[in-house]
Symmetry: C2
Subunit: 190 residues, 2 copies
DNA sequence: TTTGCAGTGAACAGGTCTGTTCATTCCTTC
DNA sequence: GAAGGAATGAACAGACCTGTTCACTGCAAA
């Protein structure tokens, strides 16, 4: 019963881990309860439905991911003011690479959520789309060297390659997916 | 009660559609029963477990997909003996494009199956890996213009881009995913 | 000391899931 | 027409699911 952190935070952390390890539908409320030590009454006080819990987990994940990337990019530009667009994108790939090799990689949360909540108008699916669009916009924002007109298309293509790499690594049919992504993207900038 | 085709075939068809529309875990045996008109007794005679049914559905899908692609490529080479590697790969993209726009697109069956059956040693997950490897090999086989040493890496990169496009289209954050994939791959051949 | 909030634990409701069983019916083939 | 395989329908077992309810326990602040 870890009470240092408010119960809600701990709950969200455990739920995130279980959703990753087992999937969203496969993870029952009871399991989250048991593993977090939070009673069902408390859970349903914070999150009126399981869907609300899933959404909150994804929202936090999205925010943490985007904030982390923005921070990394700002750090690079500060340390190396002459950094190129390719340098910035390679930084993103570095992060993905570390994630995949870090032992806590279960594919992209949003792609998996969109897969399980397939209906195009499902709130969880919609959130997955929103996250991907936001990430794509972030990439577009990092393409300072390119003419304005080309940034959107280039960001789409980079995003597509990154999601391909994450998918290939998650399914498990390529063990050098990030290296391949890096090579492809270098070619796009050539 | 369509009895023109053996019950088993009809069952597999209905199961395939439902798995696509709802997901593997979300689709209950009862639903497949109701929609196919096949009784539970018969179902469990053909497929001792639900997992066996899922595996058989995926096996058929894999075979149909690979055979279809091999056929298309052979057709192209017959009709246009001077076709280039890029021509051949563009044919694959044409097929994906038609699939996505054909109204029966629910993402890649194998990526979704790997997402739901996350354990790396799950038979269903293993089958998804096997399919992806087979498809990648098929692409490698279509790269006749390239030196032998380069084919594998090129096939990996093309595969990664194709899965990226399928994922982007399925999640729904790009509505021109195949055009982007085409542009990227053209660049790889340039 | 009293009030009120946060949380617990356990039972319960109503539903769904996979898989089993059994008596019965249909249909083909001899 | 008889025999036998293929399929049906319906009930059942046992498990798990989400969500509700209620009586109870700490604890902190007024």
């Amino acid at each position: 019963m870890p009470a240092m952190q408010p119960r809600k935070e701990h709950l969200l952390g455990v739920a995130y881990d279980l959703f990753n390890a087992l999937g969203y539908h496969q993870t029952g409320i009871d399991r989250i309860m048991a593993q977090s030590g939070v009673s069902k009454t408390t859970m349903y006080k914070y999150f009126p439905t399981k869907e609300a819990l899933v959404l909150e987990v994804l929202k936090r994940r999205s925010k943490a991911l985007l904030d982390g990337m923005v921070g990394s990019l700002a750090g690079l530009d500060a340390a190396q003011p002459a950094a190129s667009d390719l340098d910035r994108v390679n930084l993103l790939i570095d992060a993905i690479d570390a994630w995949i090799d870090g032992g806590k990689f279960f594919g992209c949360n949003f792609i998996r959520a969109a897969g399980e909540y397939g209906a195009a108008d499902d709130p969880i699916h919609l959130h997955a789309i929103a996250h991907k669009r936001a990430f794509q916009k972030l990439i577009g924002g990092a393409l300072a060297d390119l003419p304005l007109d080309d940034r959107h298309r280039m960001a789409e293509q980079i995003m597509l390659v990154l999601d391909g790499a994450i998918t290939a690594a998650h399914v498990g049919y390529q063990n050098n997916a990030t290296a391949n992504a890096r090579a492809i993207i270098a070619r796009l900038f050539a």
